[in-house]
Amino acid sequence: MSLSAYVPIVWLLALAAAFGLFSVGIAPFVGPRRFNRAKLEAYECGIEPTPQPIGGGRFPVKFYLTAMLFIIFDIEIIFLYPWAVSFDMLGVFGFFEMVIFIITVAIAYAYVWRRGGLEWD
């Protein structure tokens, strides 16, 4: 395999970098400078920034749990899409493989549910 296929990507990279550098470089010279309180605050998805949590940045472990659950189902969906697309070709074998996969995920789900992982308090 020759590396020439990557040449356009390298170009794109160079262009992007150049654009970024150019934008940052030109802004101080051409932009207006008017400050207010809101402008000095950290950017947080357009909502009010939360204060620093008590105890030096600790989050309850529940956040991680929720995130993990999200990732598990996320991955399940990533598997399901290509399988659905080529379902005809995979036939019965593919069907049962996917059933088994879903069962294993369901087992984990049952575990989390029964052990109270889905309750916030």
């Binding site: 395999m1 472990v61 080529s86 070709m89 995979l90 036939g91 074998f93 294993t104 087992i107 984990a108 049952a110 575990y111 549910w113 029964r114 052990r115």
Partner: protein, 514 residues
Amino acid sequence: MDKLKLPDMDYVALLPMLALFVAACLGVIIEALVPRRFRNIIQLVLSIVALAVAMFFVVKQSGEVVASKALTAGGAIMIDHAALFLQGALIVLGFVALLLFGERSLEFGGPFVAQAAVTVGSERDREQTGRELGSTETFPLALFSLSGMLLFVSANDLLTMFVALEVFSLPLYLLCALARRKRLLSQESALKYFLLGAYASAFFLFGVAMVYGFAKAVDFKAIHAEALLGEGNSLLLIIGLALLAIGLLFKVAAAPFHVWTPDVYQGAPTPVTAFMASCTKVAAFGGLLRVLYVGFDGLGWQFTPVLGAIAALTVLVGSILAVTQTDLKRLLAYSSVANAGYILIGVIAGQQLGLTSVLFYLVAYGFTVIAAFALISLVRDADGEATHLSRWAGLGARSPLYAGIFTFILLAFAGIPLTSGFIAKLSVFGAAIDGGQTWLVIIGVITSIILAFPYLRVVVMMWLSEPGESTPSVSIPGGLTSTALGIGTLATLVFGVVPGPLLDLAEKASSFVR
């Protein structure tokens, strides 16, 4: 678009792994549905049944290996003699280690914490230390890990190998954090293991990518063929091999990738340490053997000197650092590092003789190390296990039986005749001399002598010191720990006195199918 070609699956060949996996899933369901007080016994029985089934199929297949049919699961898994031997060894050692997992008579609730997420030192934590039954998720976790190990030693391509590596590593990280006592140490060890493990996995994966860049394939046969052909960018191959080796050498705890070992062995719950020291070592060496012997066979003259240097460094570091250790678990951790070095010497020896000696060493060492940790779990005081060396002074007077067994085990580690340790070292060194690696044998013997010092110091402390105020008592072990201890000790003795059958078995198993 063409019809997809379905992979050929030999389900019987996969049954050992499937049995463990299914049992682990059942274990998770049990965790969800069964009341807490019944879980331990159910999980234990389930695990043992699963291991028995897996062992049955391993034994059954071992008589029916045909080179042309060994490859299965779409070329991802190779069930050859070596794989079956390693799988059998893993199952047996896993069984003995799992007995330690289930022990509940040494302290209330077993060796594991009830709720690992509870903040250490809080009111809730103090409450659960003394009064709550330990978590039994450890059983499915260990089974998941074991099934990953089984896959790891039979993986036929680098990607399957990587997946297996993760499957068996992730549960281990978790298990490390579950100690009932000294929880901070336990959590610290888990985090360290996880971070460094992830780091090593990254090396491994990068290596896979490099090798793919060279060979346009990830299965060992193709890599071997491509390497023999000698076309393509061999720089990629060398870099790939080096990175793969780093990932694997991390798992076997070879210097300088051993740094996690003492901290993790010390912090992890003792049953988990026993499990890691025996099973992980078998799995990691199994994988290393397959990569080197099957995939990169043709590069022997290039990696042998480097691997030799690593082996020499490993035995030196392990033995010299063991000298000044004051904690028994750390001492055994360094001893395990040194033993990894000895096994590496066997790996480097090459040929069938080297392979045989490595397989024998892995099994022999596995049994002995489980017995050692089982015994450590017995010597306790009010705060749990008393692992500091000074606390063991005069133990011989308090409980001569257990001090005697521990002495025997230490002698086995030191390689004294009539123990399996002697035969194992002898066969490894013999193979190395045969393979022209005499310099490694010289270093091996010297470090064995150095290692004898810390071992014998423990023996001297136990027998020749007067028991002090602080000498803890030895708990009377329950049936499970006694069984594990008995099996480990007996195996150490039997393989030392009658090594023939196991050596024969290892010799028969010492052939990979490419």
